[in-house]
Subunit: 197 residues, 2 copies
Amino acid sequence: MSGKQQGRKPRADVQRNRAALLAAAQRHFLRDGVGASLEAVAKEAGVGPGTLYRHFPTREALLAAVLQTRSEELVARRADIAQLGDASERLRQWLRAMEEYFSAFSGLPEPLMAAARAQDPDNPLTLPCDDLITTTDEYLRAAQLAGHARPSVKGYDLFLAAISTAWISGTGATDEESLGRLRALIESGYREQDDEE
Amino acid sequence: MSGKQQGRKPRADVQRNRAALLAAAQRHFLRDGVGASLEAVAKEAGVGPGTLYRHFPTREALLAAVLQTRSEELVARRADIAQLGDASERLRQWLRAMEEYFSAFSGLPEPLMAAARAQDPDNPLTLPCDDLITTTDEYLRAAQLAGHARPSVKGYDLFLAAISTAWISGTGATDEESLGRLRALIESGYREQDDEE
DNA sequence: CCTTGTGCGGAGACAGCCTCCGCTTTTTTG
DNA sequence: CAAAAAAGCGGAGGCTGTCTCCGCACAAGG
């Protein structure tokens, strides 16, 4: 019942190509955003387009694979955040961490929202998204229990707030100061009124 | 010094083609979002691609021309809003009106932010954007004077909040209820704490 | 009706997405 | 270790979309 056991060892060139593709893709996504030319990625990795599409059938699949590393970083940061004593501060830090994750590549919020929308099990970005929302809800509930956040707010709301802030940040249209004010506005939006600090 | 006086009357077919292009473009932007195929627009308008690009050198130019109608609607709404007595309510209404304007076509926030970024005088979307930000600032200042809004907030912040809400709305990933909660979160973010209503 | 010149439109160059299939490379088998 | 079998490779090519250039047609004015 274990599904597929790897009957044969994976071929050497397969792993090599996959690694080369991921490295090239990361470079291109960083430089050109999530809309980078996949043809160019394949060329830089030294493989044909066919190979790229066999490894990663869609742009989203490639994106999800490249994002894997970042996801692990995020999990690591969760451990750091758990150390902090204040539930309010933990929530704030988590939201910042999530926003940075969304800002990994320019244009990333777009496909992420599309994945969150459809609940499409085929979309490889759906799972990471759901995970993020669930985690946000956990941090939020802790803050609510401590009386630091309005009860009417939902985890999904803060997910939306974080991803839209990342979207604005990714357009490159806004200086860091305005972004800071926007974050402050959101924070005072979910904080309980009689909250102390 | 009046620049160019129209030495010759505009040709009949020019006006006809322009109108046909605008109508076709509006339909396609509505259905397919701002990324709609310009080839298809030209075909539906019954003209060649060359004609389209002569009238509107860039996608943004076409977009700005189509948006002209909506901008006038927005100006009209400003008159309605001015009737309301409460500065706080006026600000709220204005933010909603602006958000609806941003939601005219799916994907519209993207080029709008790009225009707001560059202050590029060549980009035909820059002017409308600046106007919106200025107006937001006026409404906000009135609310601040009345003690209904935090003094630390700037008009540009609320512009960002509105456009990012419209962006989320345009992804189609989110139900109206979550959007309402997000708006409420933003509102309680800029409202003065000791504000009544 | 003719002249003028403005505007038309489609052919075509270019870029990116994605697929299909003959061939090479790797692995397995005798 | 050679030969068969399997697995993966890669590029040619179809498709869609953007944008330009230029010979030609047609509207405006005499």
